[in-house]
């Protein structure tokens, strides 16, 4: 097909990112058509995410440590979890509207464009107001880092940004894979929400306050422990309630890569199972 009417495709990943960006920009402009509600939603969103941390702060008003973790350490968990899910939610979170598109058959229009359907869906109904959560998390992370009693060796310093990137990637994979279920099960959006938002709330607290089975599930099942629990053990010098090999504390990049690959496969299988609607 060496025909100048049909341009050669650019690199897949690069093109996917550009399509995401273009689609997100279009949705942002669409949202601005309703300016008032845009402002209200942004303010409301900030207030709700702020409440999350207020709850933890109130608890630490009465106790000095939670499962052996002090306030700054728990704030570190809170901030890293909140940042990762917040950013992932902003990047691909709207994919949970996939269910509607499947039921109404409007995925059709997305599938006939020369652009990856995943990139278009990830930015579907993109909402800039979701920036509120990662911003708030950044503020708390900075506060936490300033108060942690940690010997800042280079490996620990490198692990903080690495953890944010890998954690975001893991949540991106969970959003995508969870939404894919909707290709087969009509109302699977709740399942996805409980793994992503439910999981994010869980890893805001130290692993030591949970049952061992739950923590094991977050290591070997849904890989939430790799978002912050495991790397935080190394950064903060905490002990592992499961006594797992120390190498796992550095395994977040591998876990993130695996999760992304699995989510990508699930997405492709899902698209092939798409059946549109009769018309």
């Amino acid at each position: 097909m060496a025909d100048d009417r049909f341009p050669a495709p650019p690199g897949r990943l690069w093109w996917g990112l550009r399509v995401w960006w273009m689609t997100a920009a279009m949705w942002t402009r669409s949202a601005l058509a309703y300016r008032t509600s845009f402002v209200l939603m942004t303010v409301g969103n900030l207030a709700i995410t702020a409440m999350d941390f207020v709850i933890i702060a109130v608890m630490f008003h009465n106790i000095h440590s939670m499962g052996g973790w002090d306030f700054h350490q728990v704030a570190f968990l809170y901030a890293t979890s909140s940042f990762a899910i917040g950013l992932a939610d902003m990047l691909v979170g709207s994919i949970d509207a996939l269910g509607n598109r499947i039921r109404q058959g409007t995925l059709d229009g997305i599938m006939v464009r020369p652009a990856p359907a995943l990139a278009q869906m990830a930015a579907d109904r993109f909402a800039l107001r979701r920036l509120g959560r990662p911003l708030q998390a950044t503020v708390i992370l900075l506060w936490s880092l300033s108060g942690l009693r940690v010997q800042w060796t280079w490996d620990r310093m490198l692990m903080v940004p690495g953890l944010l990137v890998c954690g975001t990637a893991i949540f991106v994979a969970l959003f995508v894979a969870g939404s894919c279920l909707q290709f087969w099960v009509a109302d699977a959006a709740e399942v996805q929400n409980s793994f992503t938002f439910g999981g994010a709330t869980m890893i805001q607290y130290p692993p030591t306050v949970f049952a061992r089975e739950l923590v094991a599930g977050a290591v070997f099942g849904i890989p939430l422990a790799f978002v912050n629990w495991l790397p935080a053990l190394h950064i903060l010098g905490q002990s592992d309630p499961l006594h797992l090999p120390a190498v796992l504390r550095f395994a977040s990049p591998a876990a993130a890569a695996l999760a992304l690959a699995a989510a990508g496969l699930a997405w492709r299988a899902g698209l092939r199972a798409y059946r549109s609607t009769g018309s």
């Binding site: 049909f6 341009p7 495709p9 402009r29 009769g278």
Partner: protein, 324 residues
Amino acid sequence: MALIEVDNVSRTFTVRSRKGRLRREKRQVNAVDGLTFQVAEGECVGYVGPNGAGKSTTVKMLTGILVPSGGRLRVAGVDPSRDRVRLAHRIGVVFGQRTTLWWDLPLRDSYEMARRIYRIPAGRFRANLDRCLELLDLGPLMDTPVRQLSLGQRMRGDIAAALLHDPQVLYLDEPTIGLDVVSRNRVRQFLREVNTERGTTVLLTTHDLTDIEQLCSRVMVIDHGRVVYDGGLEGLHAVGESERTLVVDLAEPCPPIAVEGARVVRVDGPRQWLAFPAARSAAPVVAAVAAGYPLVDLSVREPAIEDVISRMYAGEVAAPVRVG
């Protein structure tokens, strides 16, 4: 090599329905069942059939939206569902029922987005857009948000959006449904121009026989997911033994008109309805009526595609027929 090759393609859907309180029933629907046809570059094909015949399912498989359950499918040499994103550059799609335009944004923005997604060179984009705007009369609507457009305006907008990247094939799934006469005519004129001047291959699904008459040299009729007729429109009338209707207004109420080659099917005061074979000319019938009766006014009604097709079934047209 034909541009579109469909070889023994089928598509089944599993439908679950509730039977009683607990019993659930699984049923297989063969939406498309052993479909075979080819379309050459530059053709304009009318794709018709009753509701649920499998027309939309065919279009969705040709665009790569649905994966066929069996058979072989090629468009411009590629397998649509495997190579969907690459194929998208070569095809344009318009779904009559739903728009792919950006709902809350001015029409202009949807086209600008198309330019970027299809990576259309600026000069070609400008030329194509100008042509579409002129022929579809969209110029004055460019700054109107899509949600404020009427159905006919939006449909014209959708058709323009599907053609900015110079597709080789244009699929239209019921593009004239629900449109007013003016929009309908504009759309038809435009599609004819696209097919004859630009050489774009067109596959058009419709319920309106006039669309086909004015645009397509070839009709494919499908029913229950199979091609039951493939050929010219004239042949379809012959095979379907369909009839046109001559409506005559007489100066005063008369007894049922008796002329050669037509029979009266209805009388209402001075107005009478005469049926005659669609494949034959209306002129001899009109002449005979004018000679023997006080004729005031007349009009000829084309047979509805549904009637033609249902007659084909009543007439037990079993195997696919290929006429000239």
